[in-house]
């Protein structure tokens, strides 16, 4: 199988919670890789560590009590860097001092290289350095760097659209917040475009005005036939002759703003020069001190209004992309005015506004009814296809998994117990836990009409308390196929079939086309 581009690679991730009662081992070294443009499912019962893995990837684990003990979360790591990293990890195992020496020597080497020369060398050293210092590892990032990544490259959709939106702000404000945080440049650019047109018109003193002309309403062209029923008197731009919609103060054809005639041109020009320099600075650097001072100054409200309008318009576009009805009204409404499905759409718009590479969806449809669920899932699928985005979908609904995912990882008590393509998992589950999960789905359809008196299959017992997890394989107390070995040894994740990883001492044997 050719190696596809891996977007997110989680390696040996361990997250523990240090509580009063003891250490809760929520994640015990999980390995997941999400490829670009792929939907990866994460299934398991409640308390298996699905949400904890998602939050760890986002860097949202509360610390303390939570702590990431070990592991790497690598986002967008090129394969060459990965090769170096594996090599160095092997080489410097248990000798961090040597590692630091190597880093220092490589840095010196890089400094000695002249700019523009030996770019191949520089690239090689850069990759080696990235591998040594784990540049692509999200766990090495500072909180500020993580804030830059969250929302821009990774986003997360939450389970309850009811509570995940702030009741005190309008939808537009909240969708716009993402844009404001990550795409200030674009917002400033939007405003600059407008300002540019206006300034041009002002500098050339070409202040257009509206003229009333007789227009044929069918063709939109000027006409001399004043007596026809299709002739109407309309406002026309004096510069380019485009018909202007009633009430507009700018031309849609050439973009020129019509003069109101109230403020003298020199003053308007001065205002625009200030605004222009302000937005140029903001576009170059959103942390610009000068721009910040202007923004926090109540006198510059006039400029900020342009920015917040641009923000609202961007938010409206984001809402239009998630196919919400009447986006121009929704931007100004509050979350409680919307239904659950609409709120989830607004949530998706908020998270997708910056076109992230990876979307983590934590049970996005659990709180919704079935028809809305289907709409939301198809919307996510559509957006994924359009943007080549990866999705990490967390759910306990196997129906959702079957519908949307390319590959599935089954989690149990902090371990990944089975990982394979969706088809394989449903056709040929090998881990007893997966097998049992599939068996416990209620069956519907005429085929099963005689089964309805039978009690539903349930997996005996509950997910263990992770304060005192069972020894060996954590599933063995509930497992039908448990051996003596299972209570002593932790099974490792083994590739039993191509692309099908199972961690079990006694996997369910393969049958031909056998479904549970």
């Amino acid at each position: 199988m050719p190696e596809e581009e891996v977007l997110l690679r989680v390696e040996d991730l361990k997250t523990y919670f240090h509580t009063y009662e003891g250490v809760v081992k929520a994640l015990e070294g999980i390995n997941i890789d999400v490829r670009r443009g792929e939907t990866m499912g994460l299934v398991g019962e409640t308390g298996c560590g699905k949400s904890v893995s998602a939050l760890t990837v986002m860097g949202l684990i509360p610390i303390p009590p939570g702590k990431v003990e070990s592991g790497h979360i690598l986002l967008g790591e090129p394969s060459s860097v990965r090769a170096f990293r594996l090599e160095y990890d092997e080489k410097f195992k248990g000798s961090p001092k040597d590692r630091e020496k190597e880093i220092d020597s490589l840095r010196k080497k890089l400094d000695s290289l002249k700019e523009g020369q030996q770019s191949e060398d520089a690239k090689d050293i850069g990759e080696r350095l990235a591998a040594l210092t784990y540049t692509y590892d999200l766990l090495t990032k500072s909180p500020e760097e993580l804030n830059e990544i969250r929302g821009d490259r990774i986003s997360m959709i939450f389970q309850e659209p009811m509570t995940a939106l702030n009741p005190a702000y309008t939808i537009g404000d909240q969708v716009g917040e993402t844009i404001e945080l990550h795409q200030m440049e674009k917002l400033a650019d939007d405003v600059l475009k407008q300002l540019d047109l206006e300034t041009k018109a002002l500098v050339q003193k070409k202040l257009a005005n509206k003229k009333v002309r007789a227009i044929d309403t069918r063709t939109g062209l000027p006409t001399s036939d004043l007596n026809s029923t299709h002739t109407a008197k309309k406002d026309v731009c004096s510069l380019c002759g485009t018909v202007v919609r009633t009430g507009w103060n700018a031309c849609t054809g050439c973009g020129v703003r019509f003069s109101s005639g109230v403020v003298p041109i020199p003053i308007r020009r001065a205002f625009q020069r200030i605004a222009l320099s302000y937005y140029t600075r903001l576009k170059e650097n959103r942390y610009n001190t000068w721009a910040y001072l202007v923004r926090s100054n109540p006198i510059s409200v006039r400029m900020e209004r342009r920015l917040s309008l641009a923000k609202l318009i961007r938010a409206e576009e984001a809402l239009r992309e998630v196919k919400i009805a009447e986006p121009s009204r929704i931007v100004r409404s509050y979350p409680f005015e919307l239904s659950g499905g609409m709120r989830q759409r607004a949530m998706i718009a908020m998270m997708m506004a910056c076109k992230p590479d990876l979307l983590i969806a934590d049970e996005p449809t659990t709180a919704l009814d079935v028809t809305v669920e289907a709409q939301i899932l198809s919307l996510m699928k559509e957006m994924q296809r359009a943007r080549d985005m990866s999705i990490l979908l967390i759910t306990h609904d196997l129906g959702v998994i079957a519908e949307t995912c390319h590959r599935v990882a089954v989690m149990y008590a902090g371990y990944i117990v089975e990982l394979s393509t969706t088809e394989e998992i449903f056709a040929q589950p090998m881990h007893p836990y997966t097998h049992a999960l599939l068996r416990s789905i209620p069956k519907i359809g005429p085929k099963y009409i005689n089964d309805r008196k039978k009690p539903l299959y349930v997996i005996p017992g509950v997910v263990p308390n992770l304060l005192k997890p069972p020894s060996g394989c954590r599933f063995h107390p509930r497992c039908e196929r448990a051996l003596e070995k299972c209570s002593k040894e932790v099974p490792s994740l083994v590739e039993l079939a191509p692309g099908h990883f199972v961690s079990c001492h006694n996997p369910v044997p393969m049958t031909k086309g056998g479904s549970p």
């Binding site: 990544i149 103060n249 318009i313 100004r332 509050y334």
Partner: protein
């Protein structure tokens, strides 16, 4: 596209009616919410009464120099104005009459004018105490609640220390140290008042910071400062507004109490508490000298309390829907 969006190019030269129609469409949610708030407020007669009383007090406070027939600090002796201090012996303690609606006090000052001027003093003290106290309280409470740990512990324990001392006693100590003046009363009362707001906001923030929208906001990359300022504080503000409104009344009461104890403003100030304190020994001969400023205090405090209740009805999410 953004470039031809109607809102970047707001239509110009529209009639007021068109502008109104446009506003109505775009701000539909806001208008509906405001209408509903007004309906909720108007539902209760008592809060309307409170609102009316407070409105009257505010108007009186601003218009006192124009509607008061006499200067509050001048005595009226034989139709001629004299400076109040030292007290005069003629024209004092006159019962309510056409000339002096509320009578005159022991120094011959017109009670009606004094009560009118006292409204301004009361509101002045109220604003100067409640606003800084609420600001300090919200700031410290939000920091303590959101960041928690050491800063939270330190702030909340200091708050507890302040709360453990009876507020009037603490205020008395401060005023006694600084000397009697209206400004010093406000300092004293700010010191005794902020811990209540801190504790209130602390509790609010503790519950709000666990809300999922805070986590959602973090997951789109908002930093702690932004979350605290935009999301946490805004959502924890409604109980503070309710509390601040009723506190206005209590501050007026406390200021009057300090004035009555002789620790408030200087003795020739037209302040309700001082008026009662100065005239109380004449109560058996001249009831009007004590009853009218007392009634003014009662109505103002009651008005603020009822107004606070009304605002709570409006802001309480459980009552709303």
């Amino acid at each position: 596209m953004a470039s031809d969006h109607p809102e970047l190019y707001p239509p110009e030269k529209r009639s007021p009616r068109e502008k109104y129609e446009d506003f109505k469409v775009r701000h539909d949610s806001f208008i509906r919410e405001t209408k509903y708030s007004i309906y909720l407020f108007r539902k209760s007669l008592l809060s309307l009464f409170g609102f009316g009383v407070i409105l009257a007090v505010v108007i009186i406070a601003f218009l006192a120099p124009f509607i008061a027939p006499y200067h509050p600090n001048y005595t009226n002796v034989n139709g001629q104005n004299q400076e109040f201090w030292p007290p005069q012996t003629t024209g004092t303690l006159q019962p309510p009459s056409g000339n002096h609606w509320f009578g005159t006090d022991f120094g011959g000052r017109d009670m009606y004018s004094m009560v009118l001027y006292g409204a301004g003093k009361a509101l002045y003290v109220g604003i100067l105490v409640v606003a800084p106290a609420a600001l300090i309280g919200v700031f410290l409470g939000a920091i303590a609640g959101y960041f928690g740990r050491v800063s939270g512990e330190v702030i909340m324990r200091v708050t507890d220390v302040f709360l453990s001392i009876p507020s009037l006693v603490l205020a008395m100590v401060v005023v006694a140290a600084l000397g009697p003046s209206i400004t010093h009363i406000t300092y004293a009362m700010i010191i005794t008042w902020w811990p209540w707001y801190t504790r209130l906001v602390y509790g609010q923030v503790l519950s709000i910071r666990e809300k999922q929208y805070i986590e959602a906001s973090r997951s789109v990359g908002a930093g702690p400062g932004r979350i605290l300022y935009k999301h946490v504080i805004k959502n924890s503000l409604s109980p503070v507004i309710v509390q601040a409104t009723s506190d206005f009344g209590y501050v007026v009461l406390a200021a009057a109490a300090l004035g009555w104890l002789g620790l408030g403003a200087p003795r020739d100030t037209a302040e309700w508490g001082i008026m009662i304190s100065q005239n109380q020994s004449y109560f058996s001969q001249a009831w009007w000298t004590v009853v009218f400023p007392g009634l003014a205090i009662v109505f103002t405090v009651l008005g603020f309390n009822l107004l606070g209740d009304g605002i709570r009805d409006v802001l309480d999410p459980k009552l709303r829907r």
